[in-house]
Each structure stands twice: as structure tokens, then as C-alpha cells.
Symmetry: C2
Subunit: 344 residues, 2 copies
């Protein structure tokens, strides 16, 4: 057994890094491979961004509380979010599903109803994929594609010292919504006669079950004539994404705890769960908001934009990734992003 290394020892990011190092790029149409929200391909100056995600039953979703229509919708939106994070609009989607005979045609219809609803709302064409059976459980694998001019694509590796760090919407809601769902599921398992008590949690439940990607923010950036200096979407939690930008851009950053946009309901529920709301914002994933940096000269252009909050700035690499607490203390952050292998 001495030749066996467990995957969790390496972790998801370690494995991705290992794969990245083993890969060589040889086609001139490949601009950027592994390492951003999307790969970037070039077609005579017009660039194509492409991203894939896999969702497995029991790991990424629990059909005990996720309706199939919501699952389809969310799976599509999560991929659109990656395309948007490159400053491109998603235009095509490929969907592969593996389903066991536990599922009926009606169940598959529900799943596709959600996928197609998302495609309709985001103006994306479902152009292909694969439908196949699996021994047990449901597996979804999606690939989303977008087109953008080469000089308008925004990567996570191009933040510069002094740039302002911005985040769209609010953070931590999806994570607290998941805590509510898990709590009510546990109650239900204990006493199946008790109905789950989900009243009054609509906002954070929707953040978890039916998130939206920030196409509106990408469109508004164009209107405000802002080209971010770097961008990433927040799928694994703010801290994890800050580390991606800092590492890949070879910079440090400082954010301010009292600037973090947190919805009052997120705060209240976090306190019920004895968790600082900032922890939900920093470590909770699945908000699908956009984290981006702008040149200081663009500060006036984001002022008064309700959907965007400036939470800090980019520093020299030597300073690391820090948060200034509400009493002025400086907290060294670490990348507690969700890790596919550690969590199981």
C-alpha cells in the first residue's frame, strides 16, 4: 500500500496544479489553458472562452431538498458565471447527463426545464452534449462557451498594485441558505411528521437553490466604460478567490471587514448558527457574485452603483492577503475555499 497516495492529501487545487504542470500547449489557437475561470481560444482575433463543470449527486447536490428543475437551472447558471467572469457573455451550452433507471422521463424533463429556463433568460443556446445511463445517481457535466474581442477578455492574473477591489451583490447568503436546508433535513430525518420550517428564509434559500449569474453587472460595466483589471467569480468563497487573484497576479491585497456586503438575513442566520457573518462571506461558497479589480482612476465610475461595493485594494505581494477587522486589527487570511476532496 506504500504506492498509494490519497487524493485528499493533494486536494483539488493540488491535483489541478499537478495536471497543469503535465500539460504542454502546442496549438496556436490555444491562448490560455488551465488556470482561469475559462480557457481562452483564438479564432483570428475573436476569442472564445470555454469552461466545464461537473456536478455529482451526493457531492454537489442533494435531491432530498433540491428540486430537479432548480438543479438544472443552477448547473447552467454556475457555468454562465464562469464565462461572465472572463468579461464575455455566454452564448452556447453543452450538457451531458448520466442518469440511472431510478429516474423517470418526467424527472429528466424537469431537469431540462430548468436548464432551458436558464438558457432562455441568459440568451444561451443549448447546442449539444451527451445523454447516457449511469449505474447509480445523477451526474451532470456542462460546458459553456462565450465569444469576446481579444482586448476585452479579463483574466484573474492581471490585477495591479493600487487597484481597487470590488465585489457585486452580497456574500454568504448561499452558504447560510445551505445551513438552513441541512438543519431542516436533519429535523425531518429525526421526525418525518414534522414539516420543514423554511418560512422567512426566502432570500438565502433562493441564493442557494436558484442563484443568478451577474450578466447585469457585465453589461453595466460596459455602460460605465469600465474594463476591470482582473476578475473572477465567487464560487468557493471570497477568501479563496482573493487568493487566486493575488497568487496569479503576483500581488497582495487588503480588504476591510466592515466593507463586506452582507445581507441582514445572512447576518441574522449566521448569528443563530453561532458564526460570525464575515466567516460566511469569506468562506461560504456558491454566491456566484463577481470579484474584480479596477484602476483607481475608475473609482468615480463605480460610485453610486448599488450593485457594487469597493471592499479593499491590491498591495505589494510581500504584504500577503489581509483583512482589516472592525476594530482595526489586521487578520492574515487563508484560502479556506471549498475543496472537492477534503470535504468528503
Amino acid at each position: 500500500m506504500s504506492d498509494r497516495t490519497e487524493l485528499k492529501e493533494l486536494g483539488e487545487f493540488g491535483l489541478i496544479d499537478k495536471i497543469k504542470k503535465a500539460v504542454t500547449i502546442s496549438n496556436k489557437t490555444t491562448i490560455t489553458g488551465i488556470g482561469d475561470d475559462c480557457a481562452i481560444l483564438d479564432s483570428k482575433g475573436q476569442q472564445i472562452v470555454v469552461t466545464s463543470d461537473m456536478l455529482n449527486e451526493g457531492v454537489h447536490f442533494d435531491l432530498g431538498y433540491t428540486p430537479l428543475k432548480h438543479l438544472g437551472y443552477k448547473a447552467a447558471v454556475v457555468n454562465f458565471s464562469d464565462v461572465l467572469a472572463m468579461n464575455a457573455l455566454p452564448s452556447q451550452l453543452l450538457v451531458s447527463i448520466g442518469i440511472s433507471n431510478r429516474f423517470s422521463l418526467e424527472a429528466v424533463d424537469e431537469l431540462y426545464a430548468g436548464l432551458l429556463k436558464a438558457c432562455e433568460l441568459y440568451n444561451v443556446d443549448l447546442v449539444g452534449g451527451d445523454t447516457t445511463s449511469s449505474i447509480n445517481g445523477l451526474t451532470l457535466s456542462l460546458t459553456a462557451i462565450g465569444f469576446q474581442d481579444a482586448d476585452k477578455i479579463v483574466k484573474r492574473s492581471t490585477a495591479g498594485e493600487g487597484d481597487l477591489i470590488c465585489v457585486s451583490g452580497d456574500l454568504g447568503g448561499a452558504y447560510m441558505g445551505l445551513q438552513i436546508l441541512e438543519r431542516e433535513k436533519a429535523v425531518f430525518k429525526g421526525s418525518p411528521d414534522v414539516q420543514p420550517d423554511l418560512d422567512g428564509f426566502d432570500y438565502i434559500l433562493e441564493r442557494q437553490l436558484k442563484p443568478e449569474a451577474r450578466k447585469d453587472v457585465i453589461i453595466e460595466l460596459v455602460k460605465r466604460e469600465i474594463l476591470p483589471s482582473s476578475m473572477i467569480d465567487i464560487s468557493d468563497g471570497l477568501a479563496s478567490e482573493l487568493f487566486h487573484i493575488a497568487t496569479d497576479s503576483n500581488v497582495g491585497c487588503t480588504i476591510y471587514a466592515d466593507k463586506l456586503p452582507i445581507d441582514p438575513m445572512t447576518s441574522t442566520v449566521a448569528q443563530d448558527f453561532k458564526m460570525p457573518p464575515e466567516t460566511a462571506a469569506l468562506n461560504g461558497g456558491e454566491d456566484y457574485e463577481l470579484l474584480f479589480t479596477i484602476k483607481q482612476a475608475d473609482y468615480e465610475k463605480v460610485k453610486g452603483w448599488r450593485e457594487v461595493t469597493v471592499i479593499g485594494h491590491i498591495t505589494d505581494k510581500a504584504e500577503g492577503v489581509n483583512m482589516v477587522g472592525s476594530v482595526g486589527s489586521i487578520i492574515k487570511l487563508n484560502a479556506q475555499g471549498w475543496d472537492a476532496f477534503l470535504s468528503k
Copy 2:
């Protein structure tokens, strides 16, 4: 239970058709969506073909006799084959894997070694994907991309009456290789002390375990200045693919049993299994050869090309899909392609 329709009642092609009907296309960059080996996207005259495939443990592969390296190689090649079938060369690949903790890092390394070997040999860049955990079993989902000028892309829907039907390589080998593997697995299960007897079956075992996509044929077509009038790769068996071309091109076709290219080893093993070799060629899948049609005027250009056999011609739609048997009898074919839902 009256609202429950089993997936096998509809079948894989029925489900794809249903999804296709529910989809509307609204982006001008989408040229063709569901319904060919790849979707076709347009980027200012340069077109992009893209295809996705999902492979699930226990359905598409059996790790009892498929080494992980071979699995990775085959998974990549199968997708390259779809891109080649559009008359484009694959240039990028995205790989998503779902793995349970049953697998070690060394196992994942083996899988990627196979994927990367295929990428190296076919000059394809691995540009992205997803690495994630699954509750049990191994799931692979791949997306392959290729670029081609708009006027050189070849679809399955453009065969014309009188065109000659060509096939590359030989057929039925992968299927007979699978029969050998299944037989030896059954023997091994019955008496674990008996070593599997795979000697002398190298060619058909390699056809099953380590197939190649016909990039050489696509390159040779250019050298011979042949642009096929339609093309598809043979993944589900010749009969199934003939039906795809006939249905989508709105034509009929006639092939000749004695023209079918079948390797002597395939014939011998088929006879051992009491199966007519033509059945292996017509119904056995996974050969990954190319089935294409050419204008009669191009006949001289394929003459003497050892890798390509003319097996019949395209007819009027009313005649249907037929095979002329070795004694001159006419057999109506049906599309006994491998069906993902029926087979389980």
C-alpha cells in the same frame, strides 16, 4: 405511478430528439446545435466544432479489464473522432472527472497519462475541465474542440443521391474484442485461478481497448483533394450511422455485404461466437472508423487507397436503407445502434 415514463421506453435517440425539439437557437454565433457529431459555432467565418461525451463506470467501461491509462486514451480519442467526423482537426480538450475515494492519486495519474498521451499523439491541448469527487465510481466527461473554415466543414445531413458510400479501416473488431474480454472475465469469475487466455487476439483487443481516431484519413482526404459530401464516425455500429446519414440527408442507401471491410481475425472470432461477421460489422460499435460519402466524380481519387473501401451508394429516400447479401438477396436494415438506455 401513472405519471412515470421509463427512460428505456423512449431510448437515447428518442430523448435526444425530445431535447432537440425543446431547444430554440437565438445566437448568431450558433450555426448548428444538437444533431451532428459536433455543434458548429461561427467566429467571423472561421467555424468552431465542439462535442461532449460522458463515460460512466459500469456502463461504458469496466475497470476489471480496462487499465486506467487505456481508458483515458480511449476517452480522448472517442471525442477526437467526433471532431474529425466534421472534417476538422481537434485542437483543444476539456476533461472533467468525478472520482470516489476508492481511487488513489496514482490511479488518477494513470488516467491522465492516457489522456495526455492521446493529446500528444493527436496534437491536442488539454485546456480545462473540472476535477471533483463522486460518491462511487468513476465518471469522465470530455469536450473536444476543433477549428475549420466554414466551407470545409462536413455534416451528416448533406449526402446526395448517387453518391458513393465509403468506410475507412475495417469494422466489427472492437465488438469482437469486447466479446473476448467478457468471456475471459466470466471464466475468471468462475475459477479465479485460471489466467485469462487473451493470446492471439491482439488486434481486436486493441480495437476495443485502445482505438484510434482516423486523423490520417482526414489528412489524406485533403491530399487527394476530396471533400466528402457527408460524414459521420462509426461509434454505434455501421447500421446505426447509415440511418443517421439517410435520415438527416433525406435519402436512402444500398450497401453490399461482400464489400464490408472485415479483418480475418474479426471473422474468425465472430464464427467462434456463432455470429455472422457482417452482424459484428453492422451492429457492433466502437470501431471509430469514418463513414463518408463522395460524389461519383471523385471515385478515381479513392481508387487504390488501401484505408478506404467503397461499400455502396446513396439512393432515393423511398428505397430505404438496404444491404445486398452475398447471394444477391436484399435485406432491409434497421438501426440496431447501441442505445444507452436499452442496454441497461
